[in-house]
Amino acid sequence: MAKIKYIEFNGNAHEVEVPNGMTVMEGAVRSNIPGIDADCGGGMSCATCHVYINDDEWLKKLPEKEMGEDDMLDQAFEPKSNSRLSCQLIVTDDLDGLIVHMPEKQV
């Protein structure tokens, strides 16, 4: 279980507990947190669950991107070097306290 804070582009913050094994994307969708669309449902095929990890420590701590994630991020709205696809971040106790920021929009 990890407490994750999702911050919308307009600054609205949502903090929810996400069970281990779920993805950061699923944690948002099941709590109806706006800002993460996840059109493809977690298949790494759409780049609409794009988030920024603004904290460098967290960025380093997260599991590295697998092949394909950066390719998909090329197609996201305003990707940056701290961009991740939240469907590729699987929740463990280690992610407790993670803060993700949403882009202005997903498409």
């Binding site: 059109d39 493809c40 759409c46 950066d70 090329d74 709205f77 070097s81």
Partner: protein, 338 residues
């Protein structure tokens, strides 16, 4: 005006199997899809990716699944209307009048929306200022490459479309290719070619930059790009091309008066009809308690929606359930010789 029993919106696996079920029970249908090929997400997003959860098919790719479904509905000779999109639904004397972007019109008692998560459209630049040049000097696809002859063309993107066009246009135009990182996701041979063209100064390759703004006075003159660390550059541009893949948009479906729950359409699970009589929704686009976004769920939903369509298309007939193994009527429809 084409008269039919059912118009299916979406030629993905769900739409295709629904067509099969309509054929089996003796109804006609017309299938509209805005992609230029049959298969929906299976073909557009993951033609080569294996799928492991189709019942009785341990493993197949999106392309194989699509080809098998096409084969399965061949006996019915249904018409496909590709590269077209349903724009408008209008109710008229218990029928639906369906109009497409390309001007086709259908009259039908039933419409089955099997639209996945909407229609695929090119992903556009995030900058507002590009909008006034859309379709003129800011383009997301190329129909006629001769317009670029001797022009300054700035291409954005790192996939095959961006690389292919950068290579192709390098003979014809002054090409700049801009990508947000050093790695490209295109075919290795294309990446190698791009590096060669950049090394011998045939093209101008700029990485770790993205679009910031476009400038012009009536016509486009330049594009401004930015790096993450805040450096800006201005590049002369007659044309700016963006290749960022496709996004899925609900599009006109949102304007048909259907109940919507986020980007999905609530249905009843008896026949997958929406809040409008004669309009059904199946596959990823529909929602109900317990909905799973699996292809197999789409197949089930299509089979039940087809029976729902029968009631409206043949109000005076009683639907009779038959097995394909035993029914000679169905075998006739399939063209099976015994």
């Amino acid at each position: 005006m084409i008269k039919t029993d059912v118009v299916i919106i979406g030629a993905g696996p769900t739409g295709l199997f629904c067509a099969h079920q309509l054929g089996i029970i003796g109804l006609k249908c017309e299938i509209v899809d805005n992609l230029d090929k049959i298969g929906g997400q299976c073909i557009e997003l993951y033609p080569d990716k294996p799928i492991y959860d189709i019942p009785a098919v341990p493993e197949c790719t999106g392309e194989e699944l699509t080809n098998n479904l096409i084969e399965q509905i061949k006996p019915f000779n249904f018409n496909f209307h590709l590269s077209d999109r349903v724009q408008e639904l209008k109710s008229e004397n218990d029928k639906w009048i369906v109009k497409t972007l390309n001007g086709k019109e259908f009259e039908t008692p039933n419409v089955v929306i099997a639209g996945g998560v909407g229609s695929f459209e090119p992903r556009k630049f995030p900058t507002k200022s590009t909008e006034k040049y859309h379709g003129k000097s800011v383009l997301y696809s190329i129909k006629d490459k001769t317009i670029f002859k001797d022009k300054s063309v700035v291409i954005f993107g790192g996939g095959d479309s961006a690389l292919d066009w950068a290579i192709e246009l390098s003979n014809l135009s002054k090409v700049t290719l801009v990508h947000r990182r050093d790695e490209f996701r295109g075919l290795p041979a294309s990446v190698k070619k791009i590096k060669e063209l950049s090394d011998n100064k045939t093209i101008n390759l700029i990485t770790k930059y993205s679009i910031k703004d476009v400038h012009g006075n009536g016509s486009l003159e330049s594009v401004e790009i930015k790096s993450e660390s805040g450096e800006n550059k201005v590049i002369k541009a007659d044309y700016v091309l963006g290749f960022f893949g496709l996004i899925m948009q609900l599009g006109p479906i949102a304007e048909w008066g259907l109940n919507l729950d986020k980007k999905t359409i609530p249905v009843n699970t008896e026949n997958f009809e929406t809040n409008k009589k004669g309009i059904f929704a199946i596959g990823d686009i529909c929602t109900y308690p317990g909905k799973l976004k699996l292809i197999l769920s789409g197949f089930h939903e299509g089979a039940l929606a087809a029976r729902g369509c029968f009631k409206h298309a043949r109000p005076d007939e009683k639907y009779r359930f038959e097995f394909t193994t035993a029914s000679s009527t169905i075998k006739d429809r399939l063209g099976v010789k015994e």
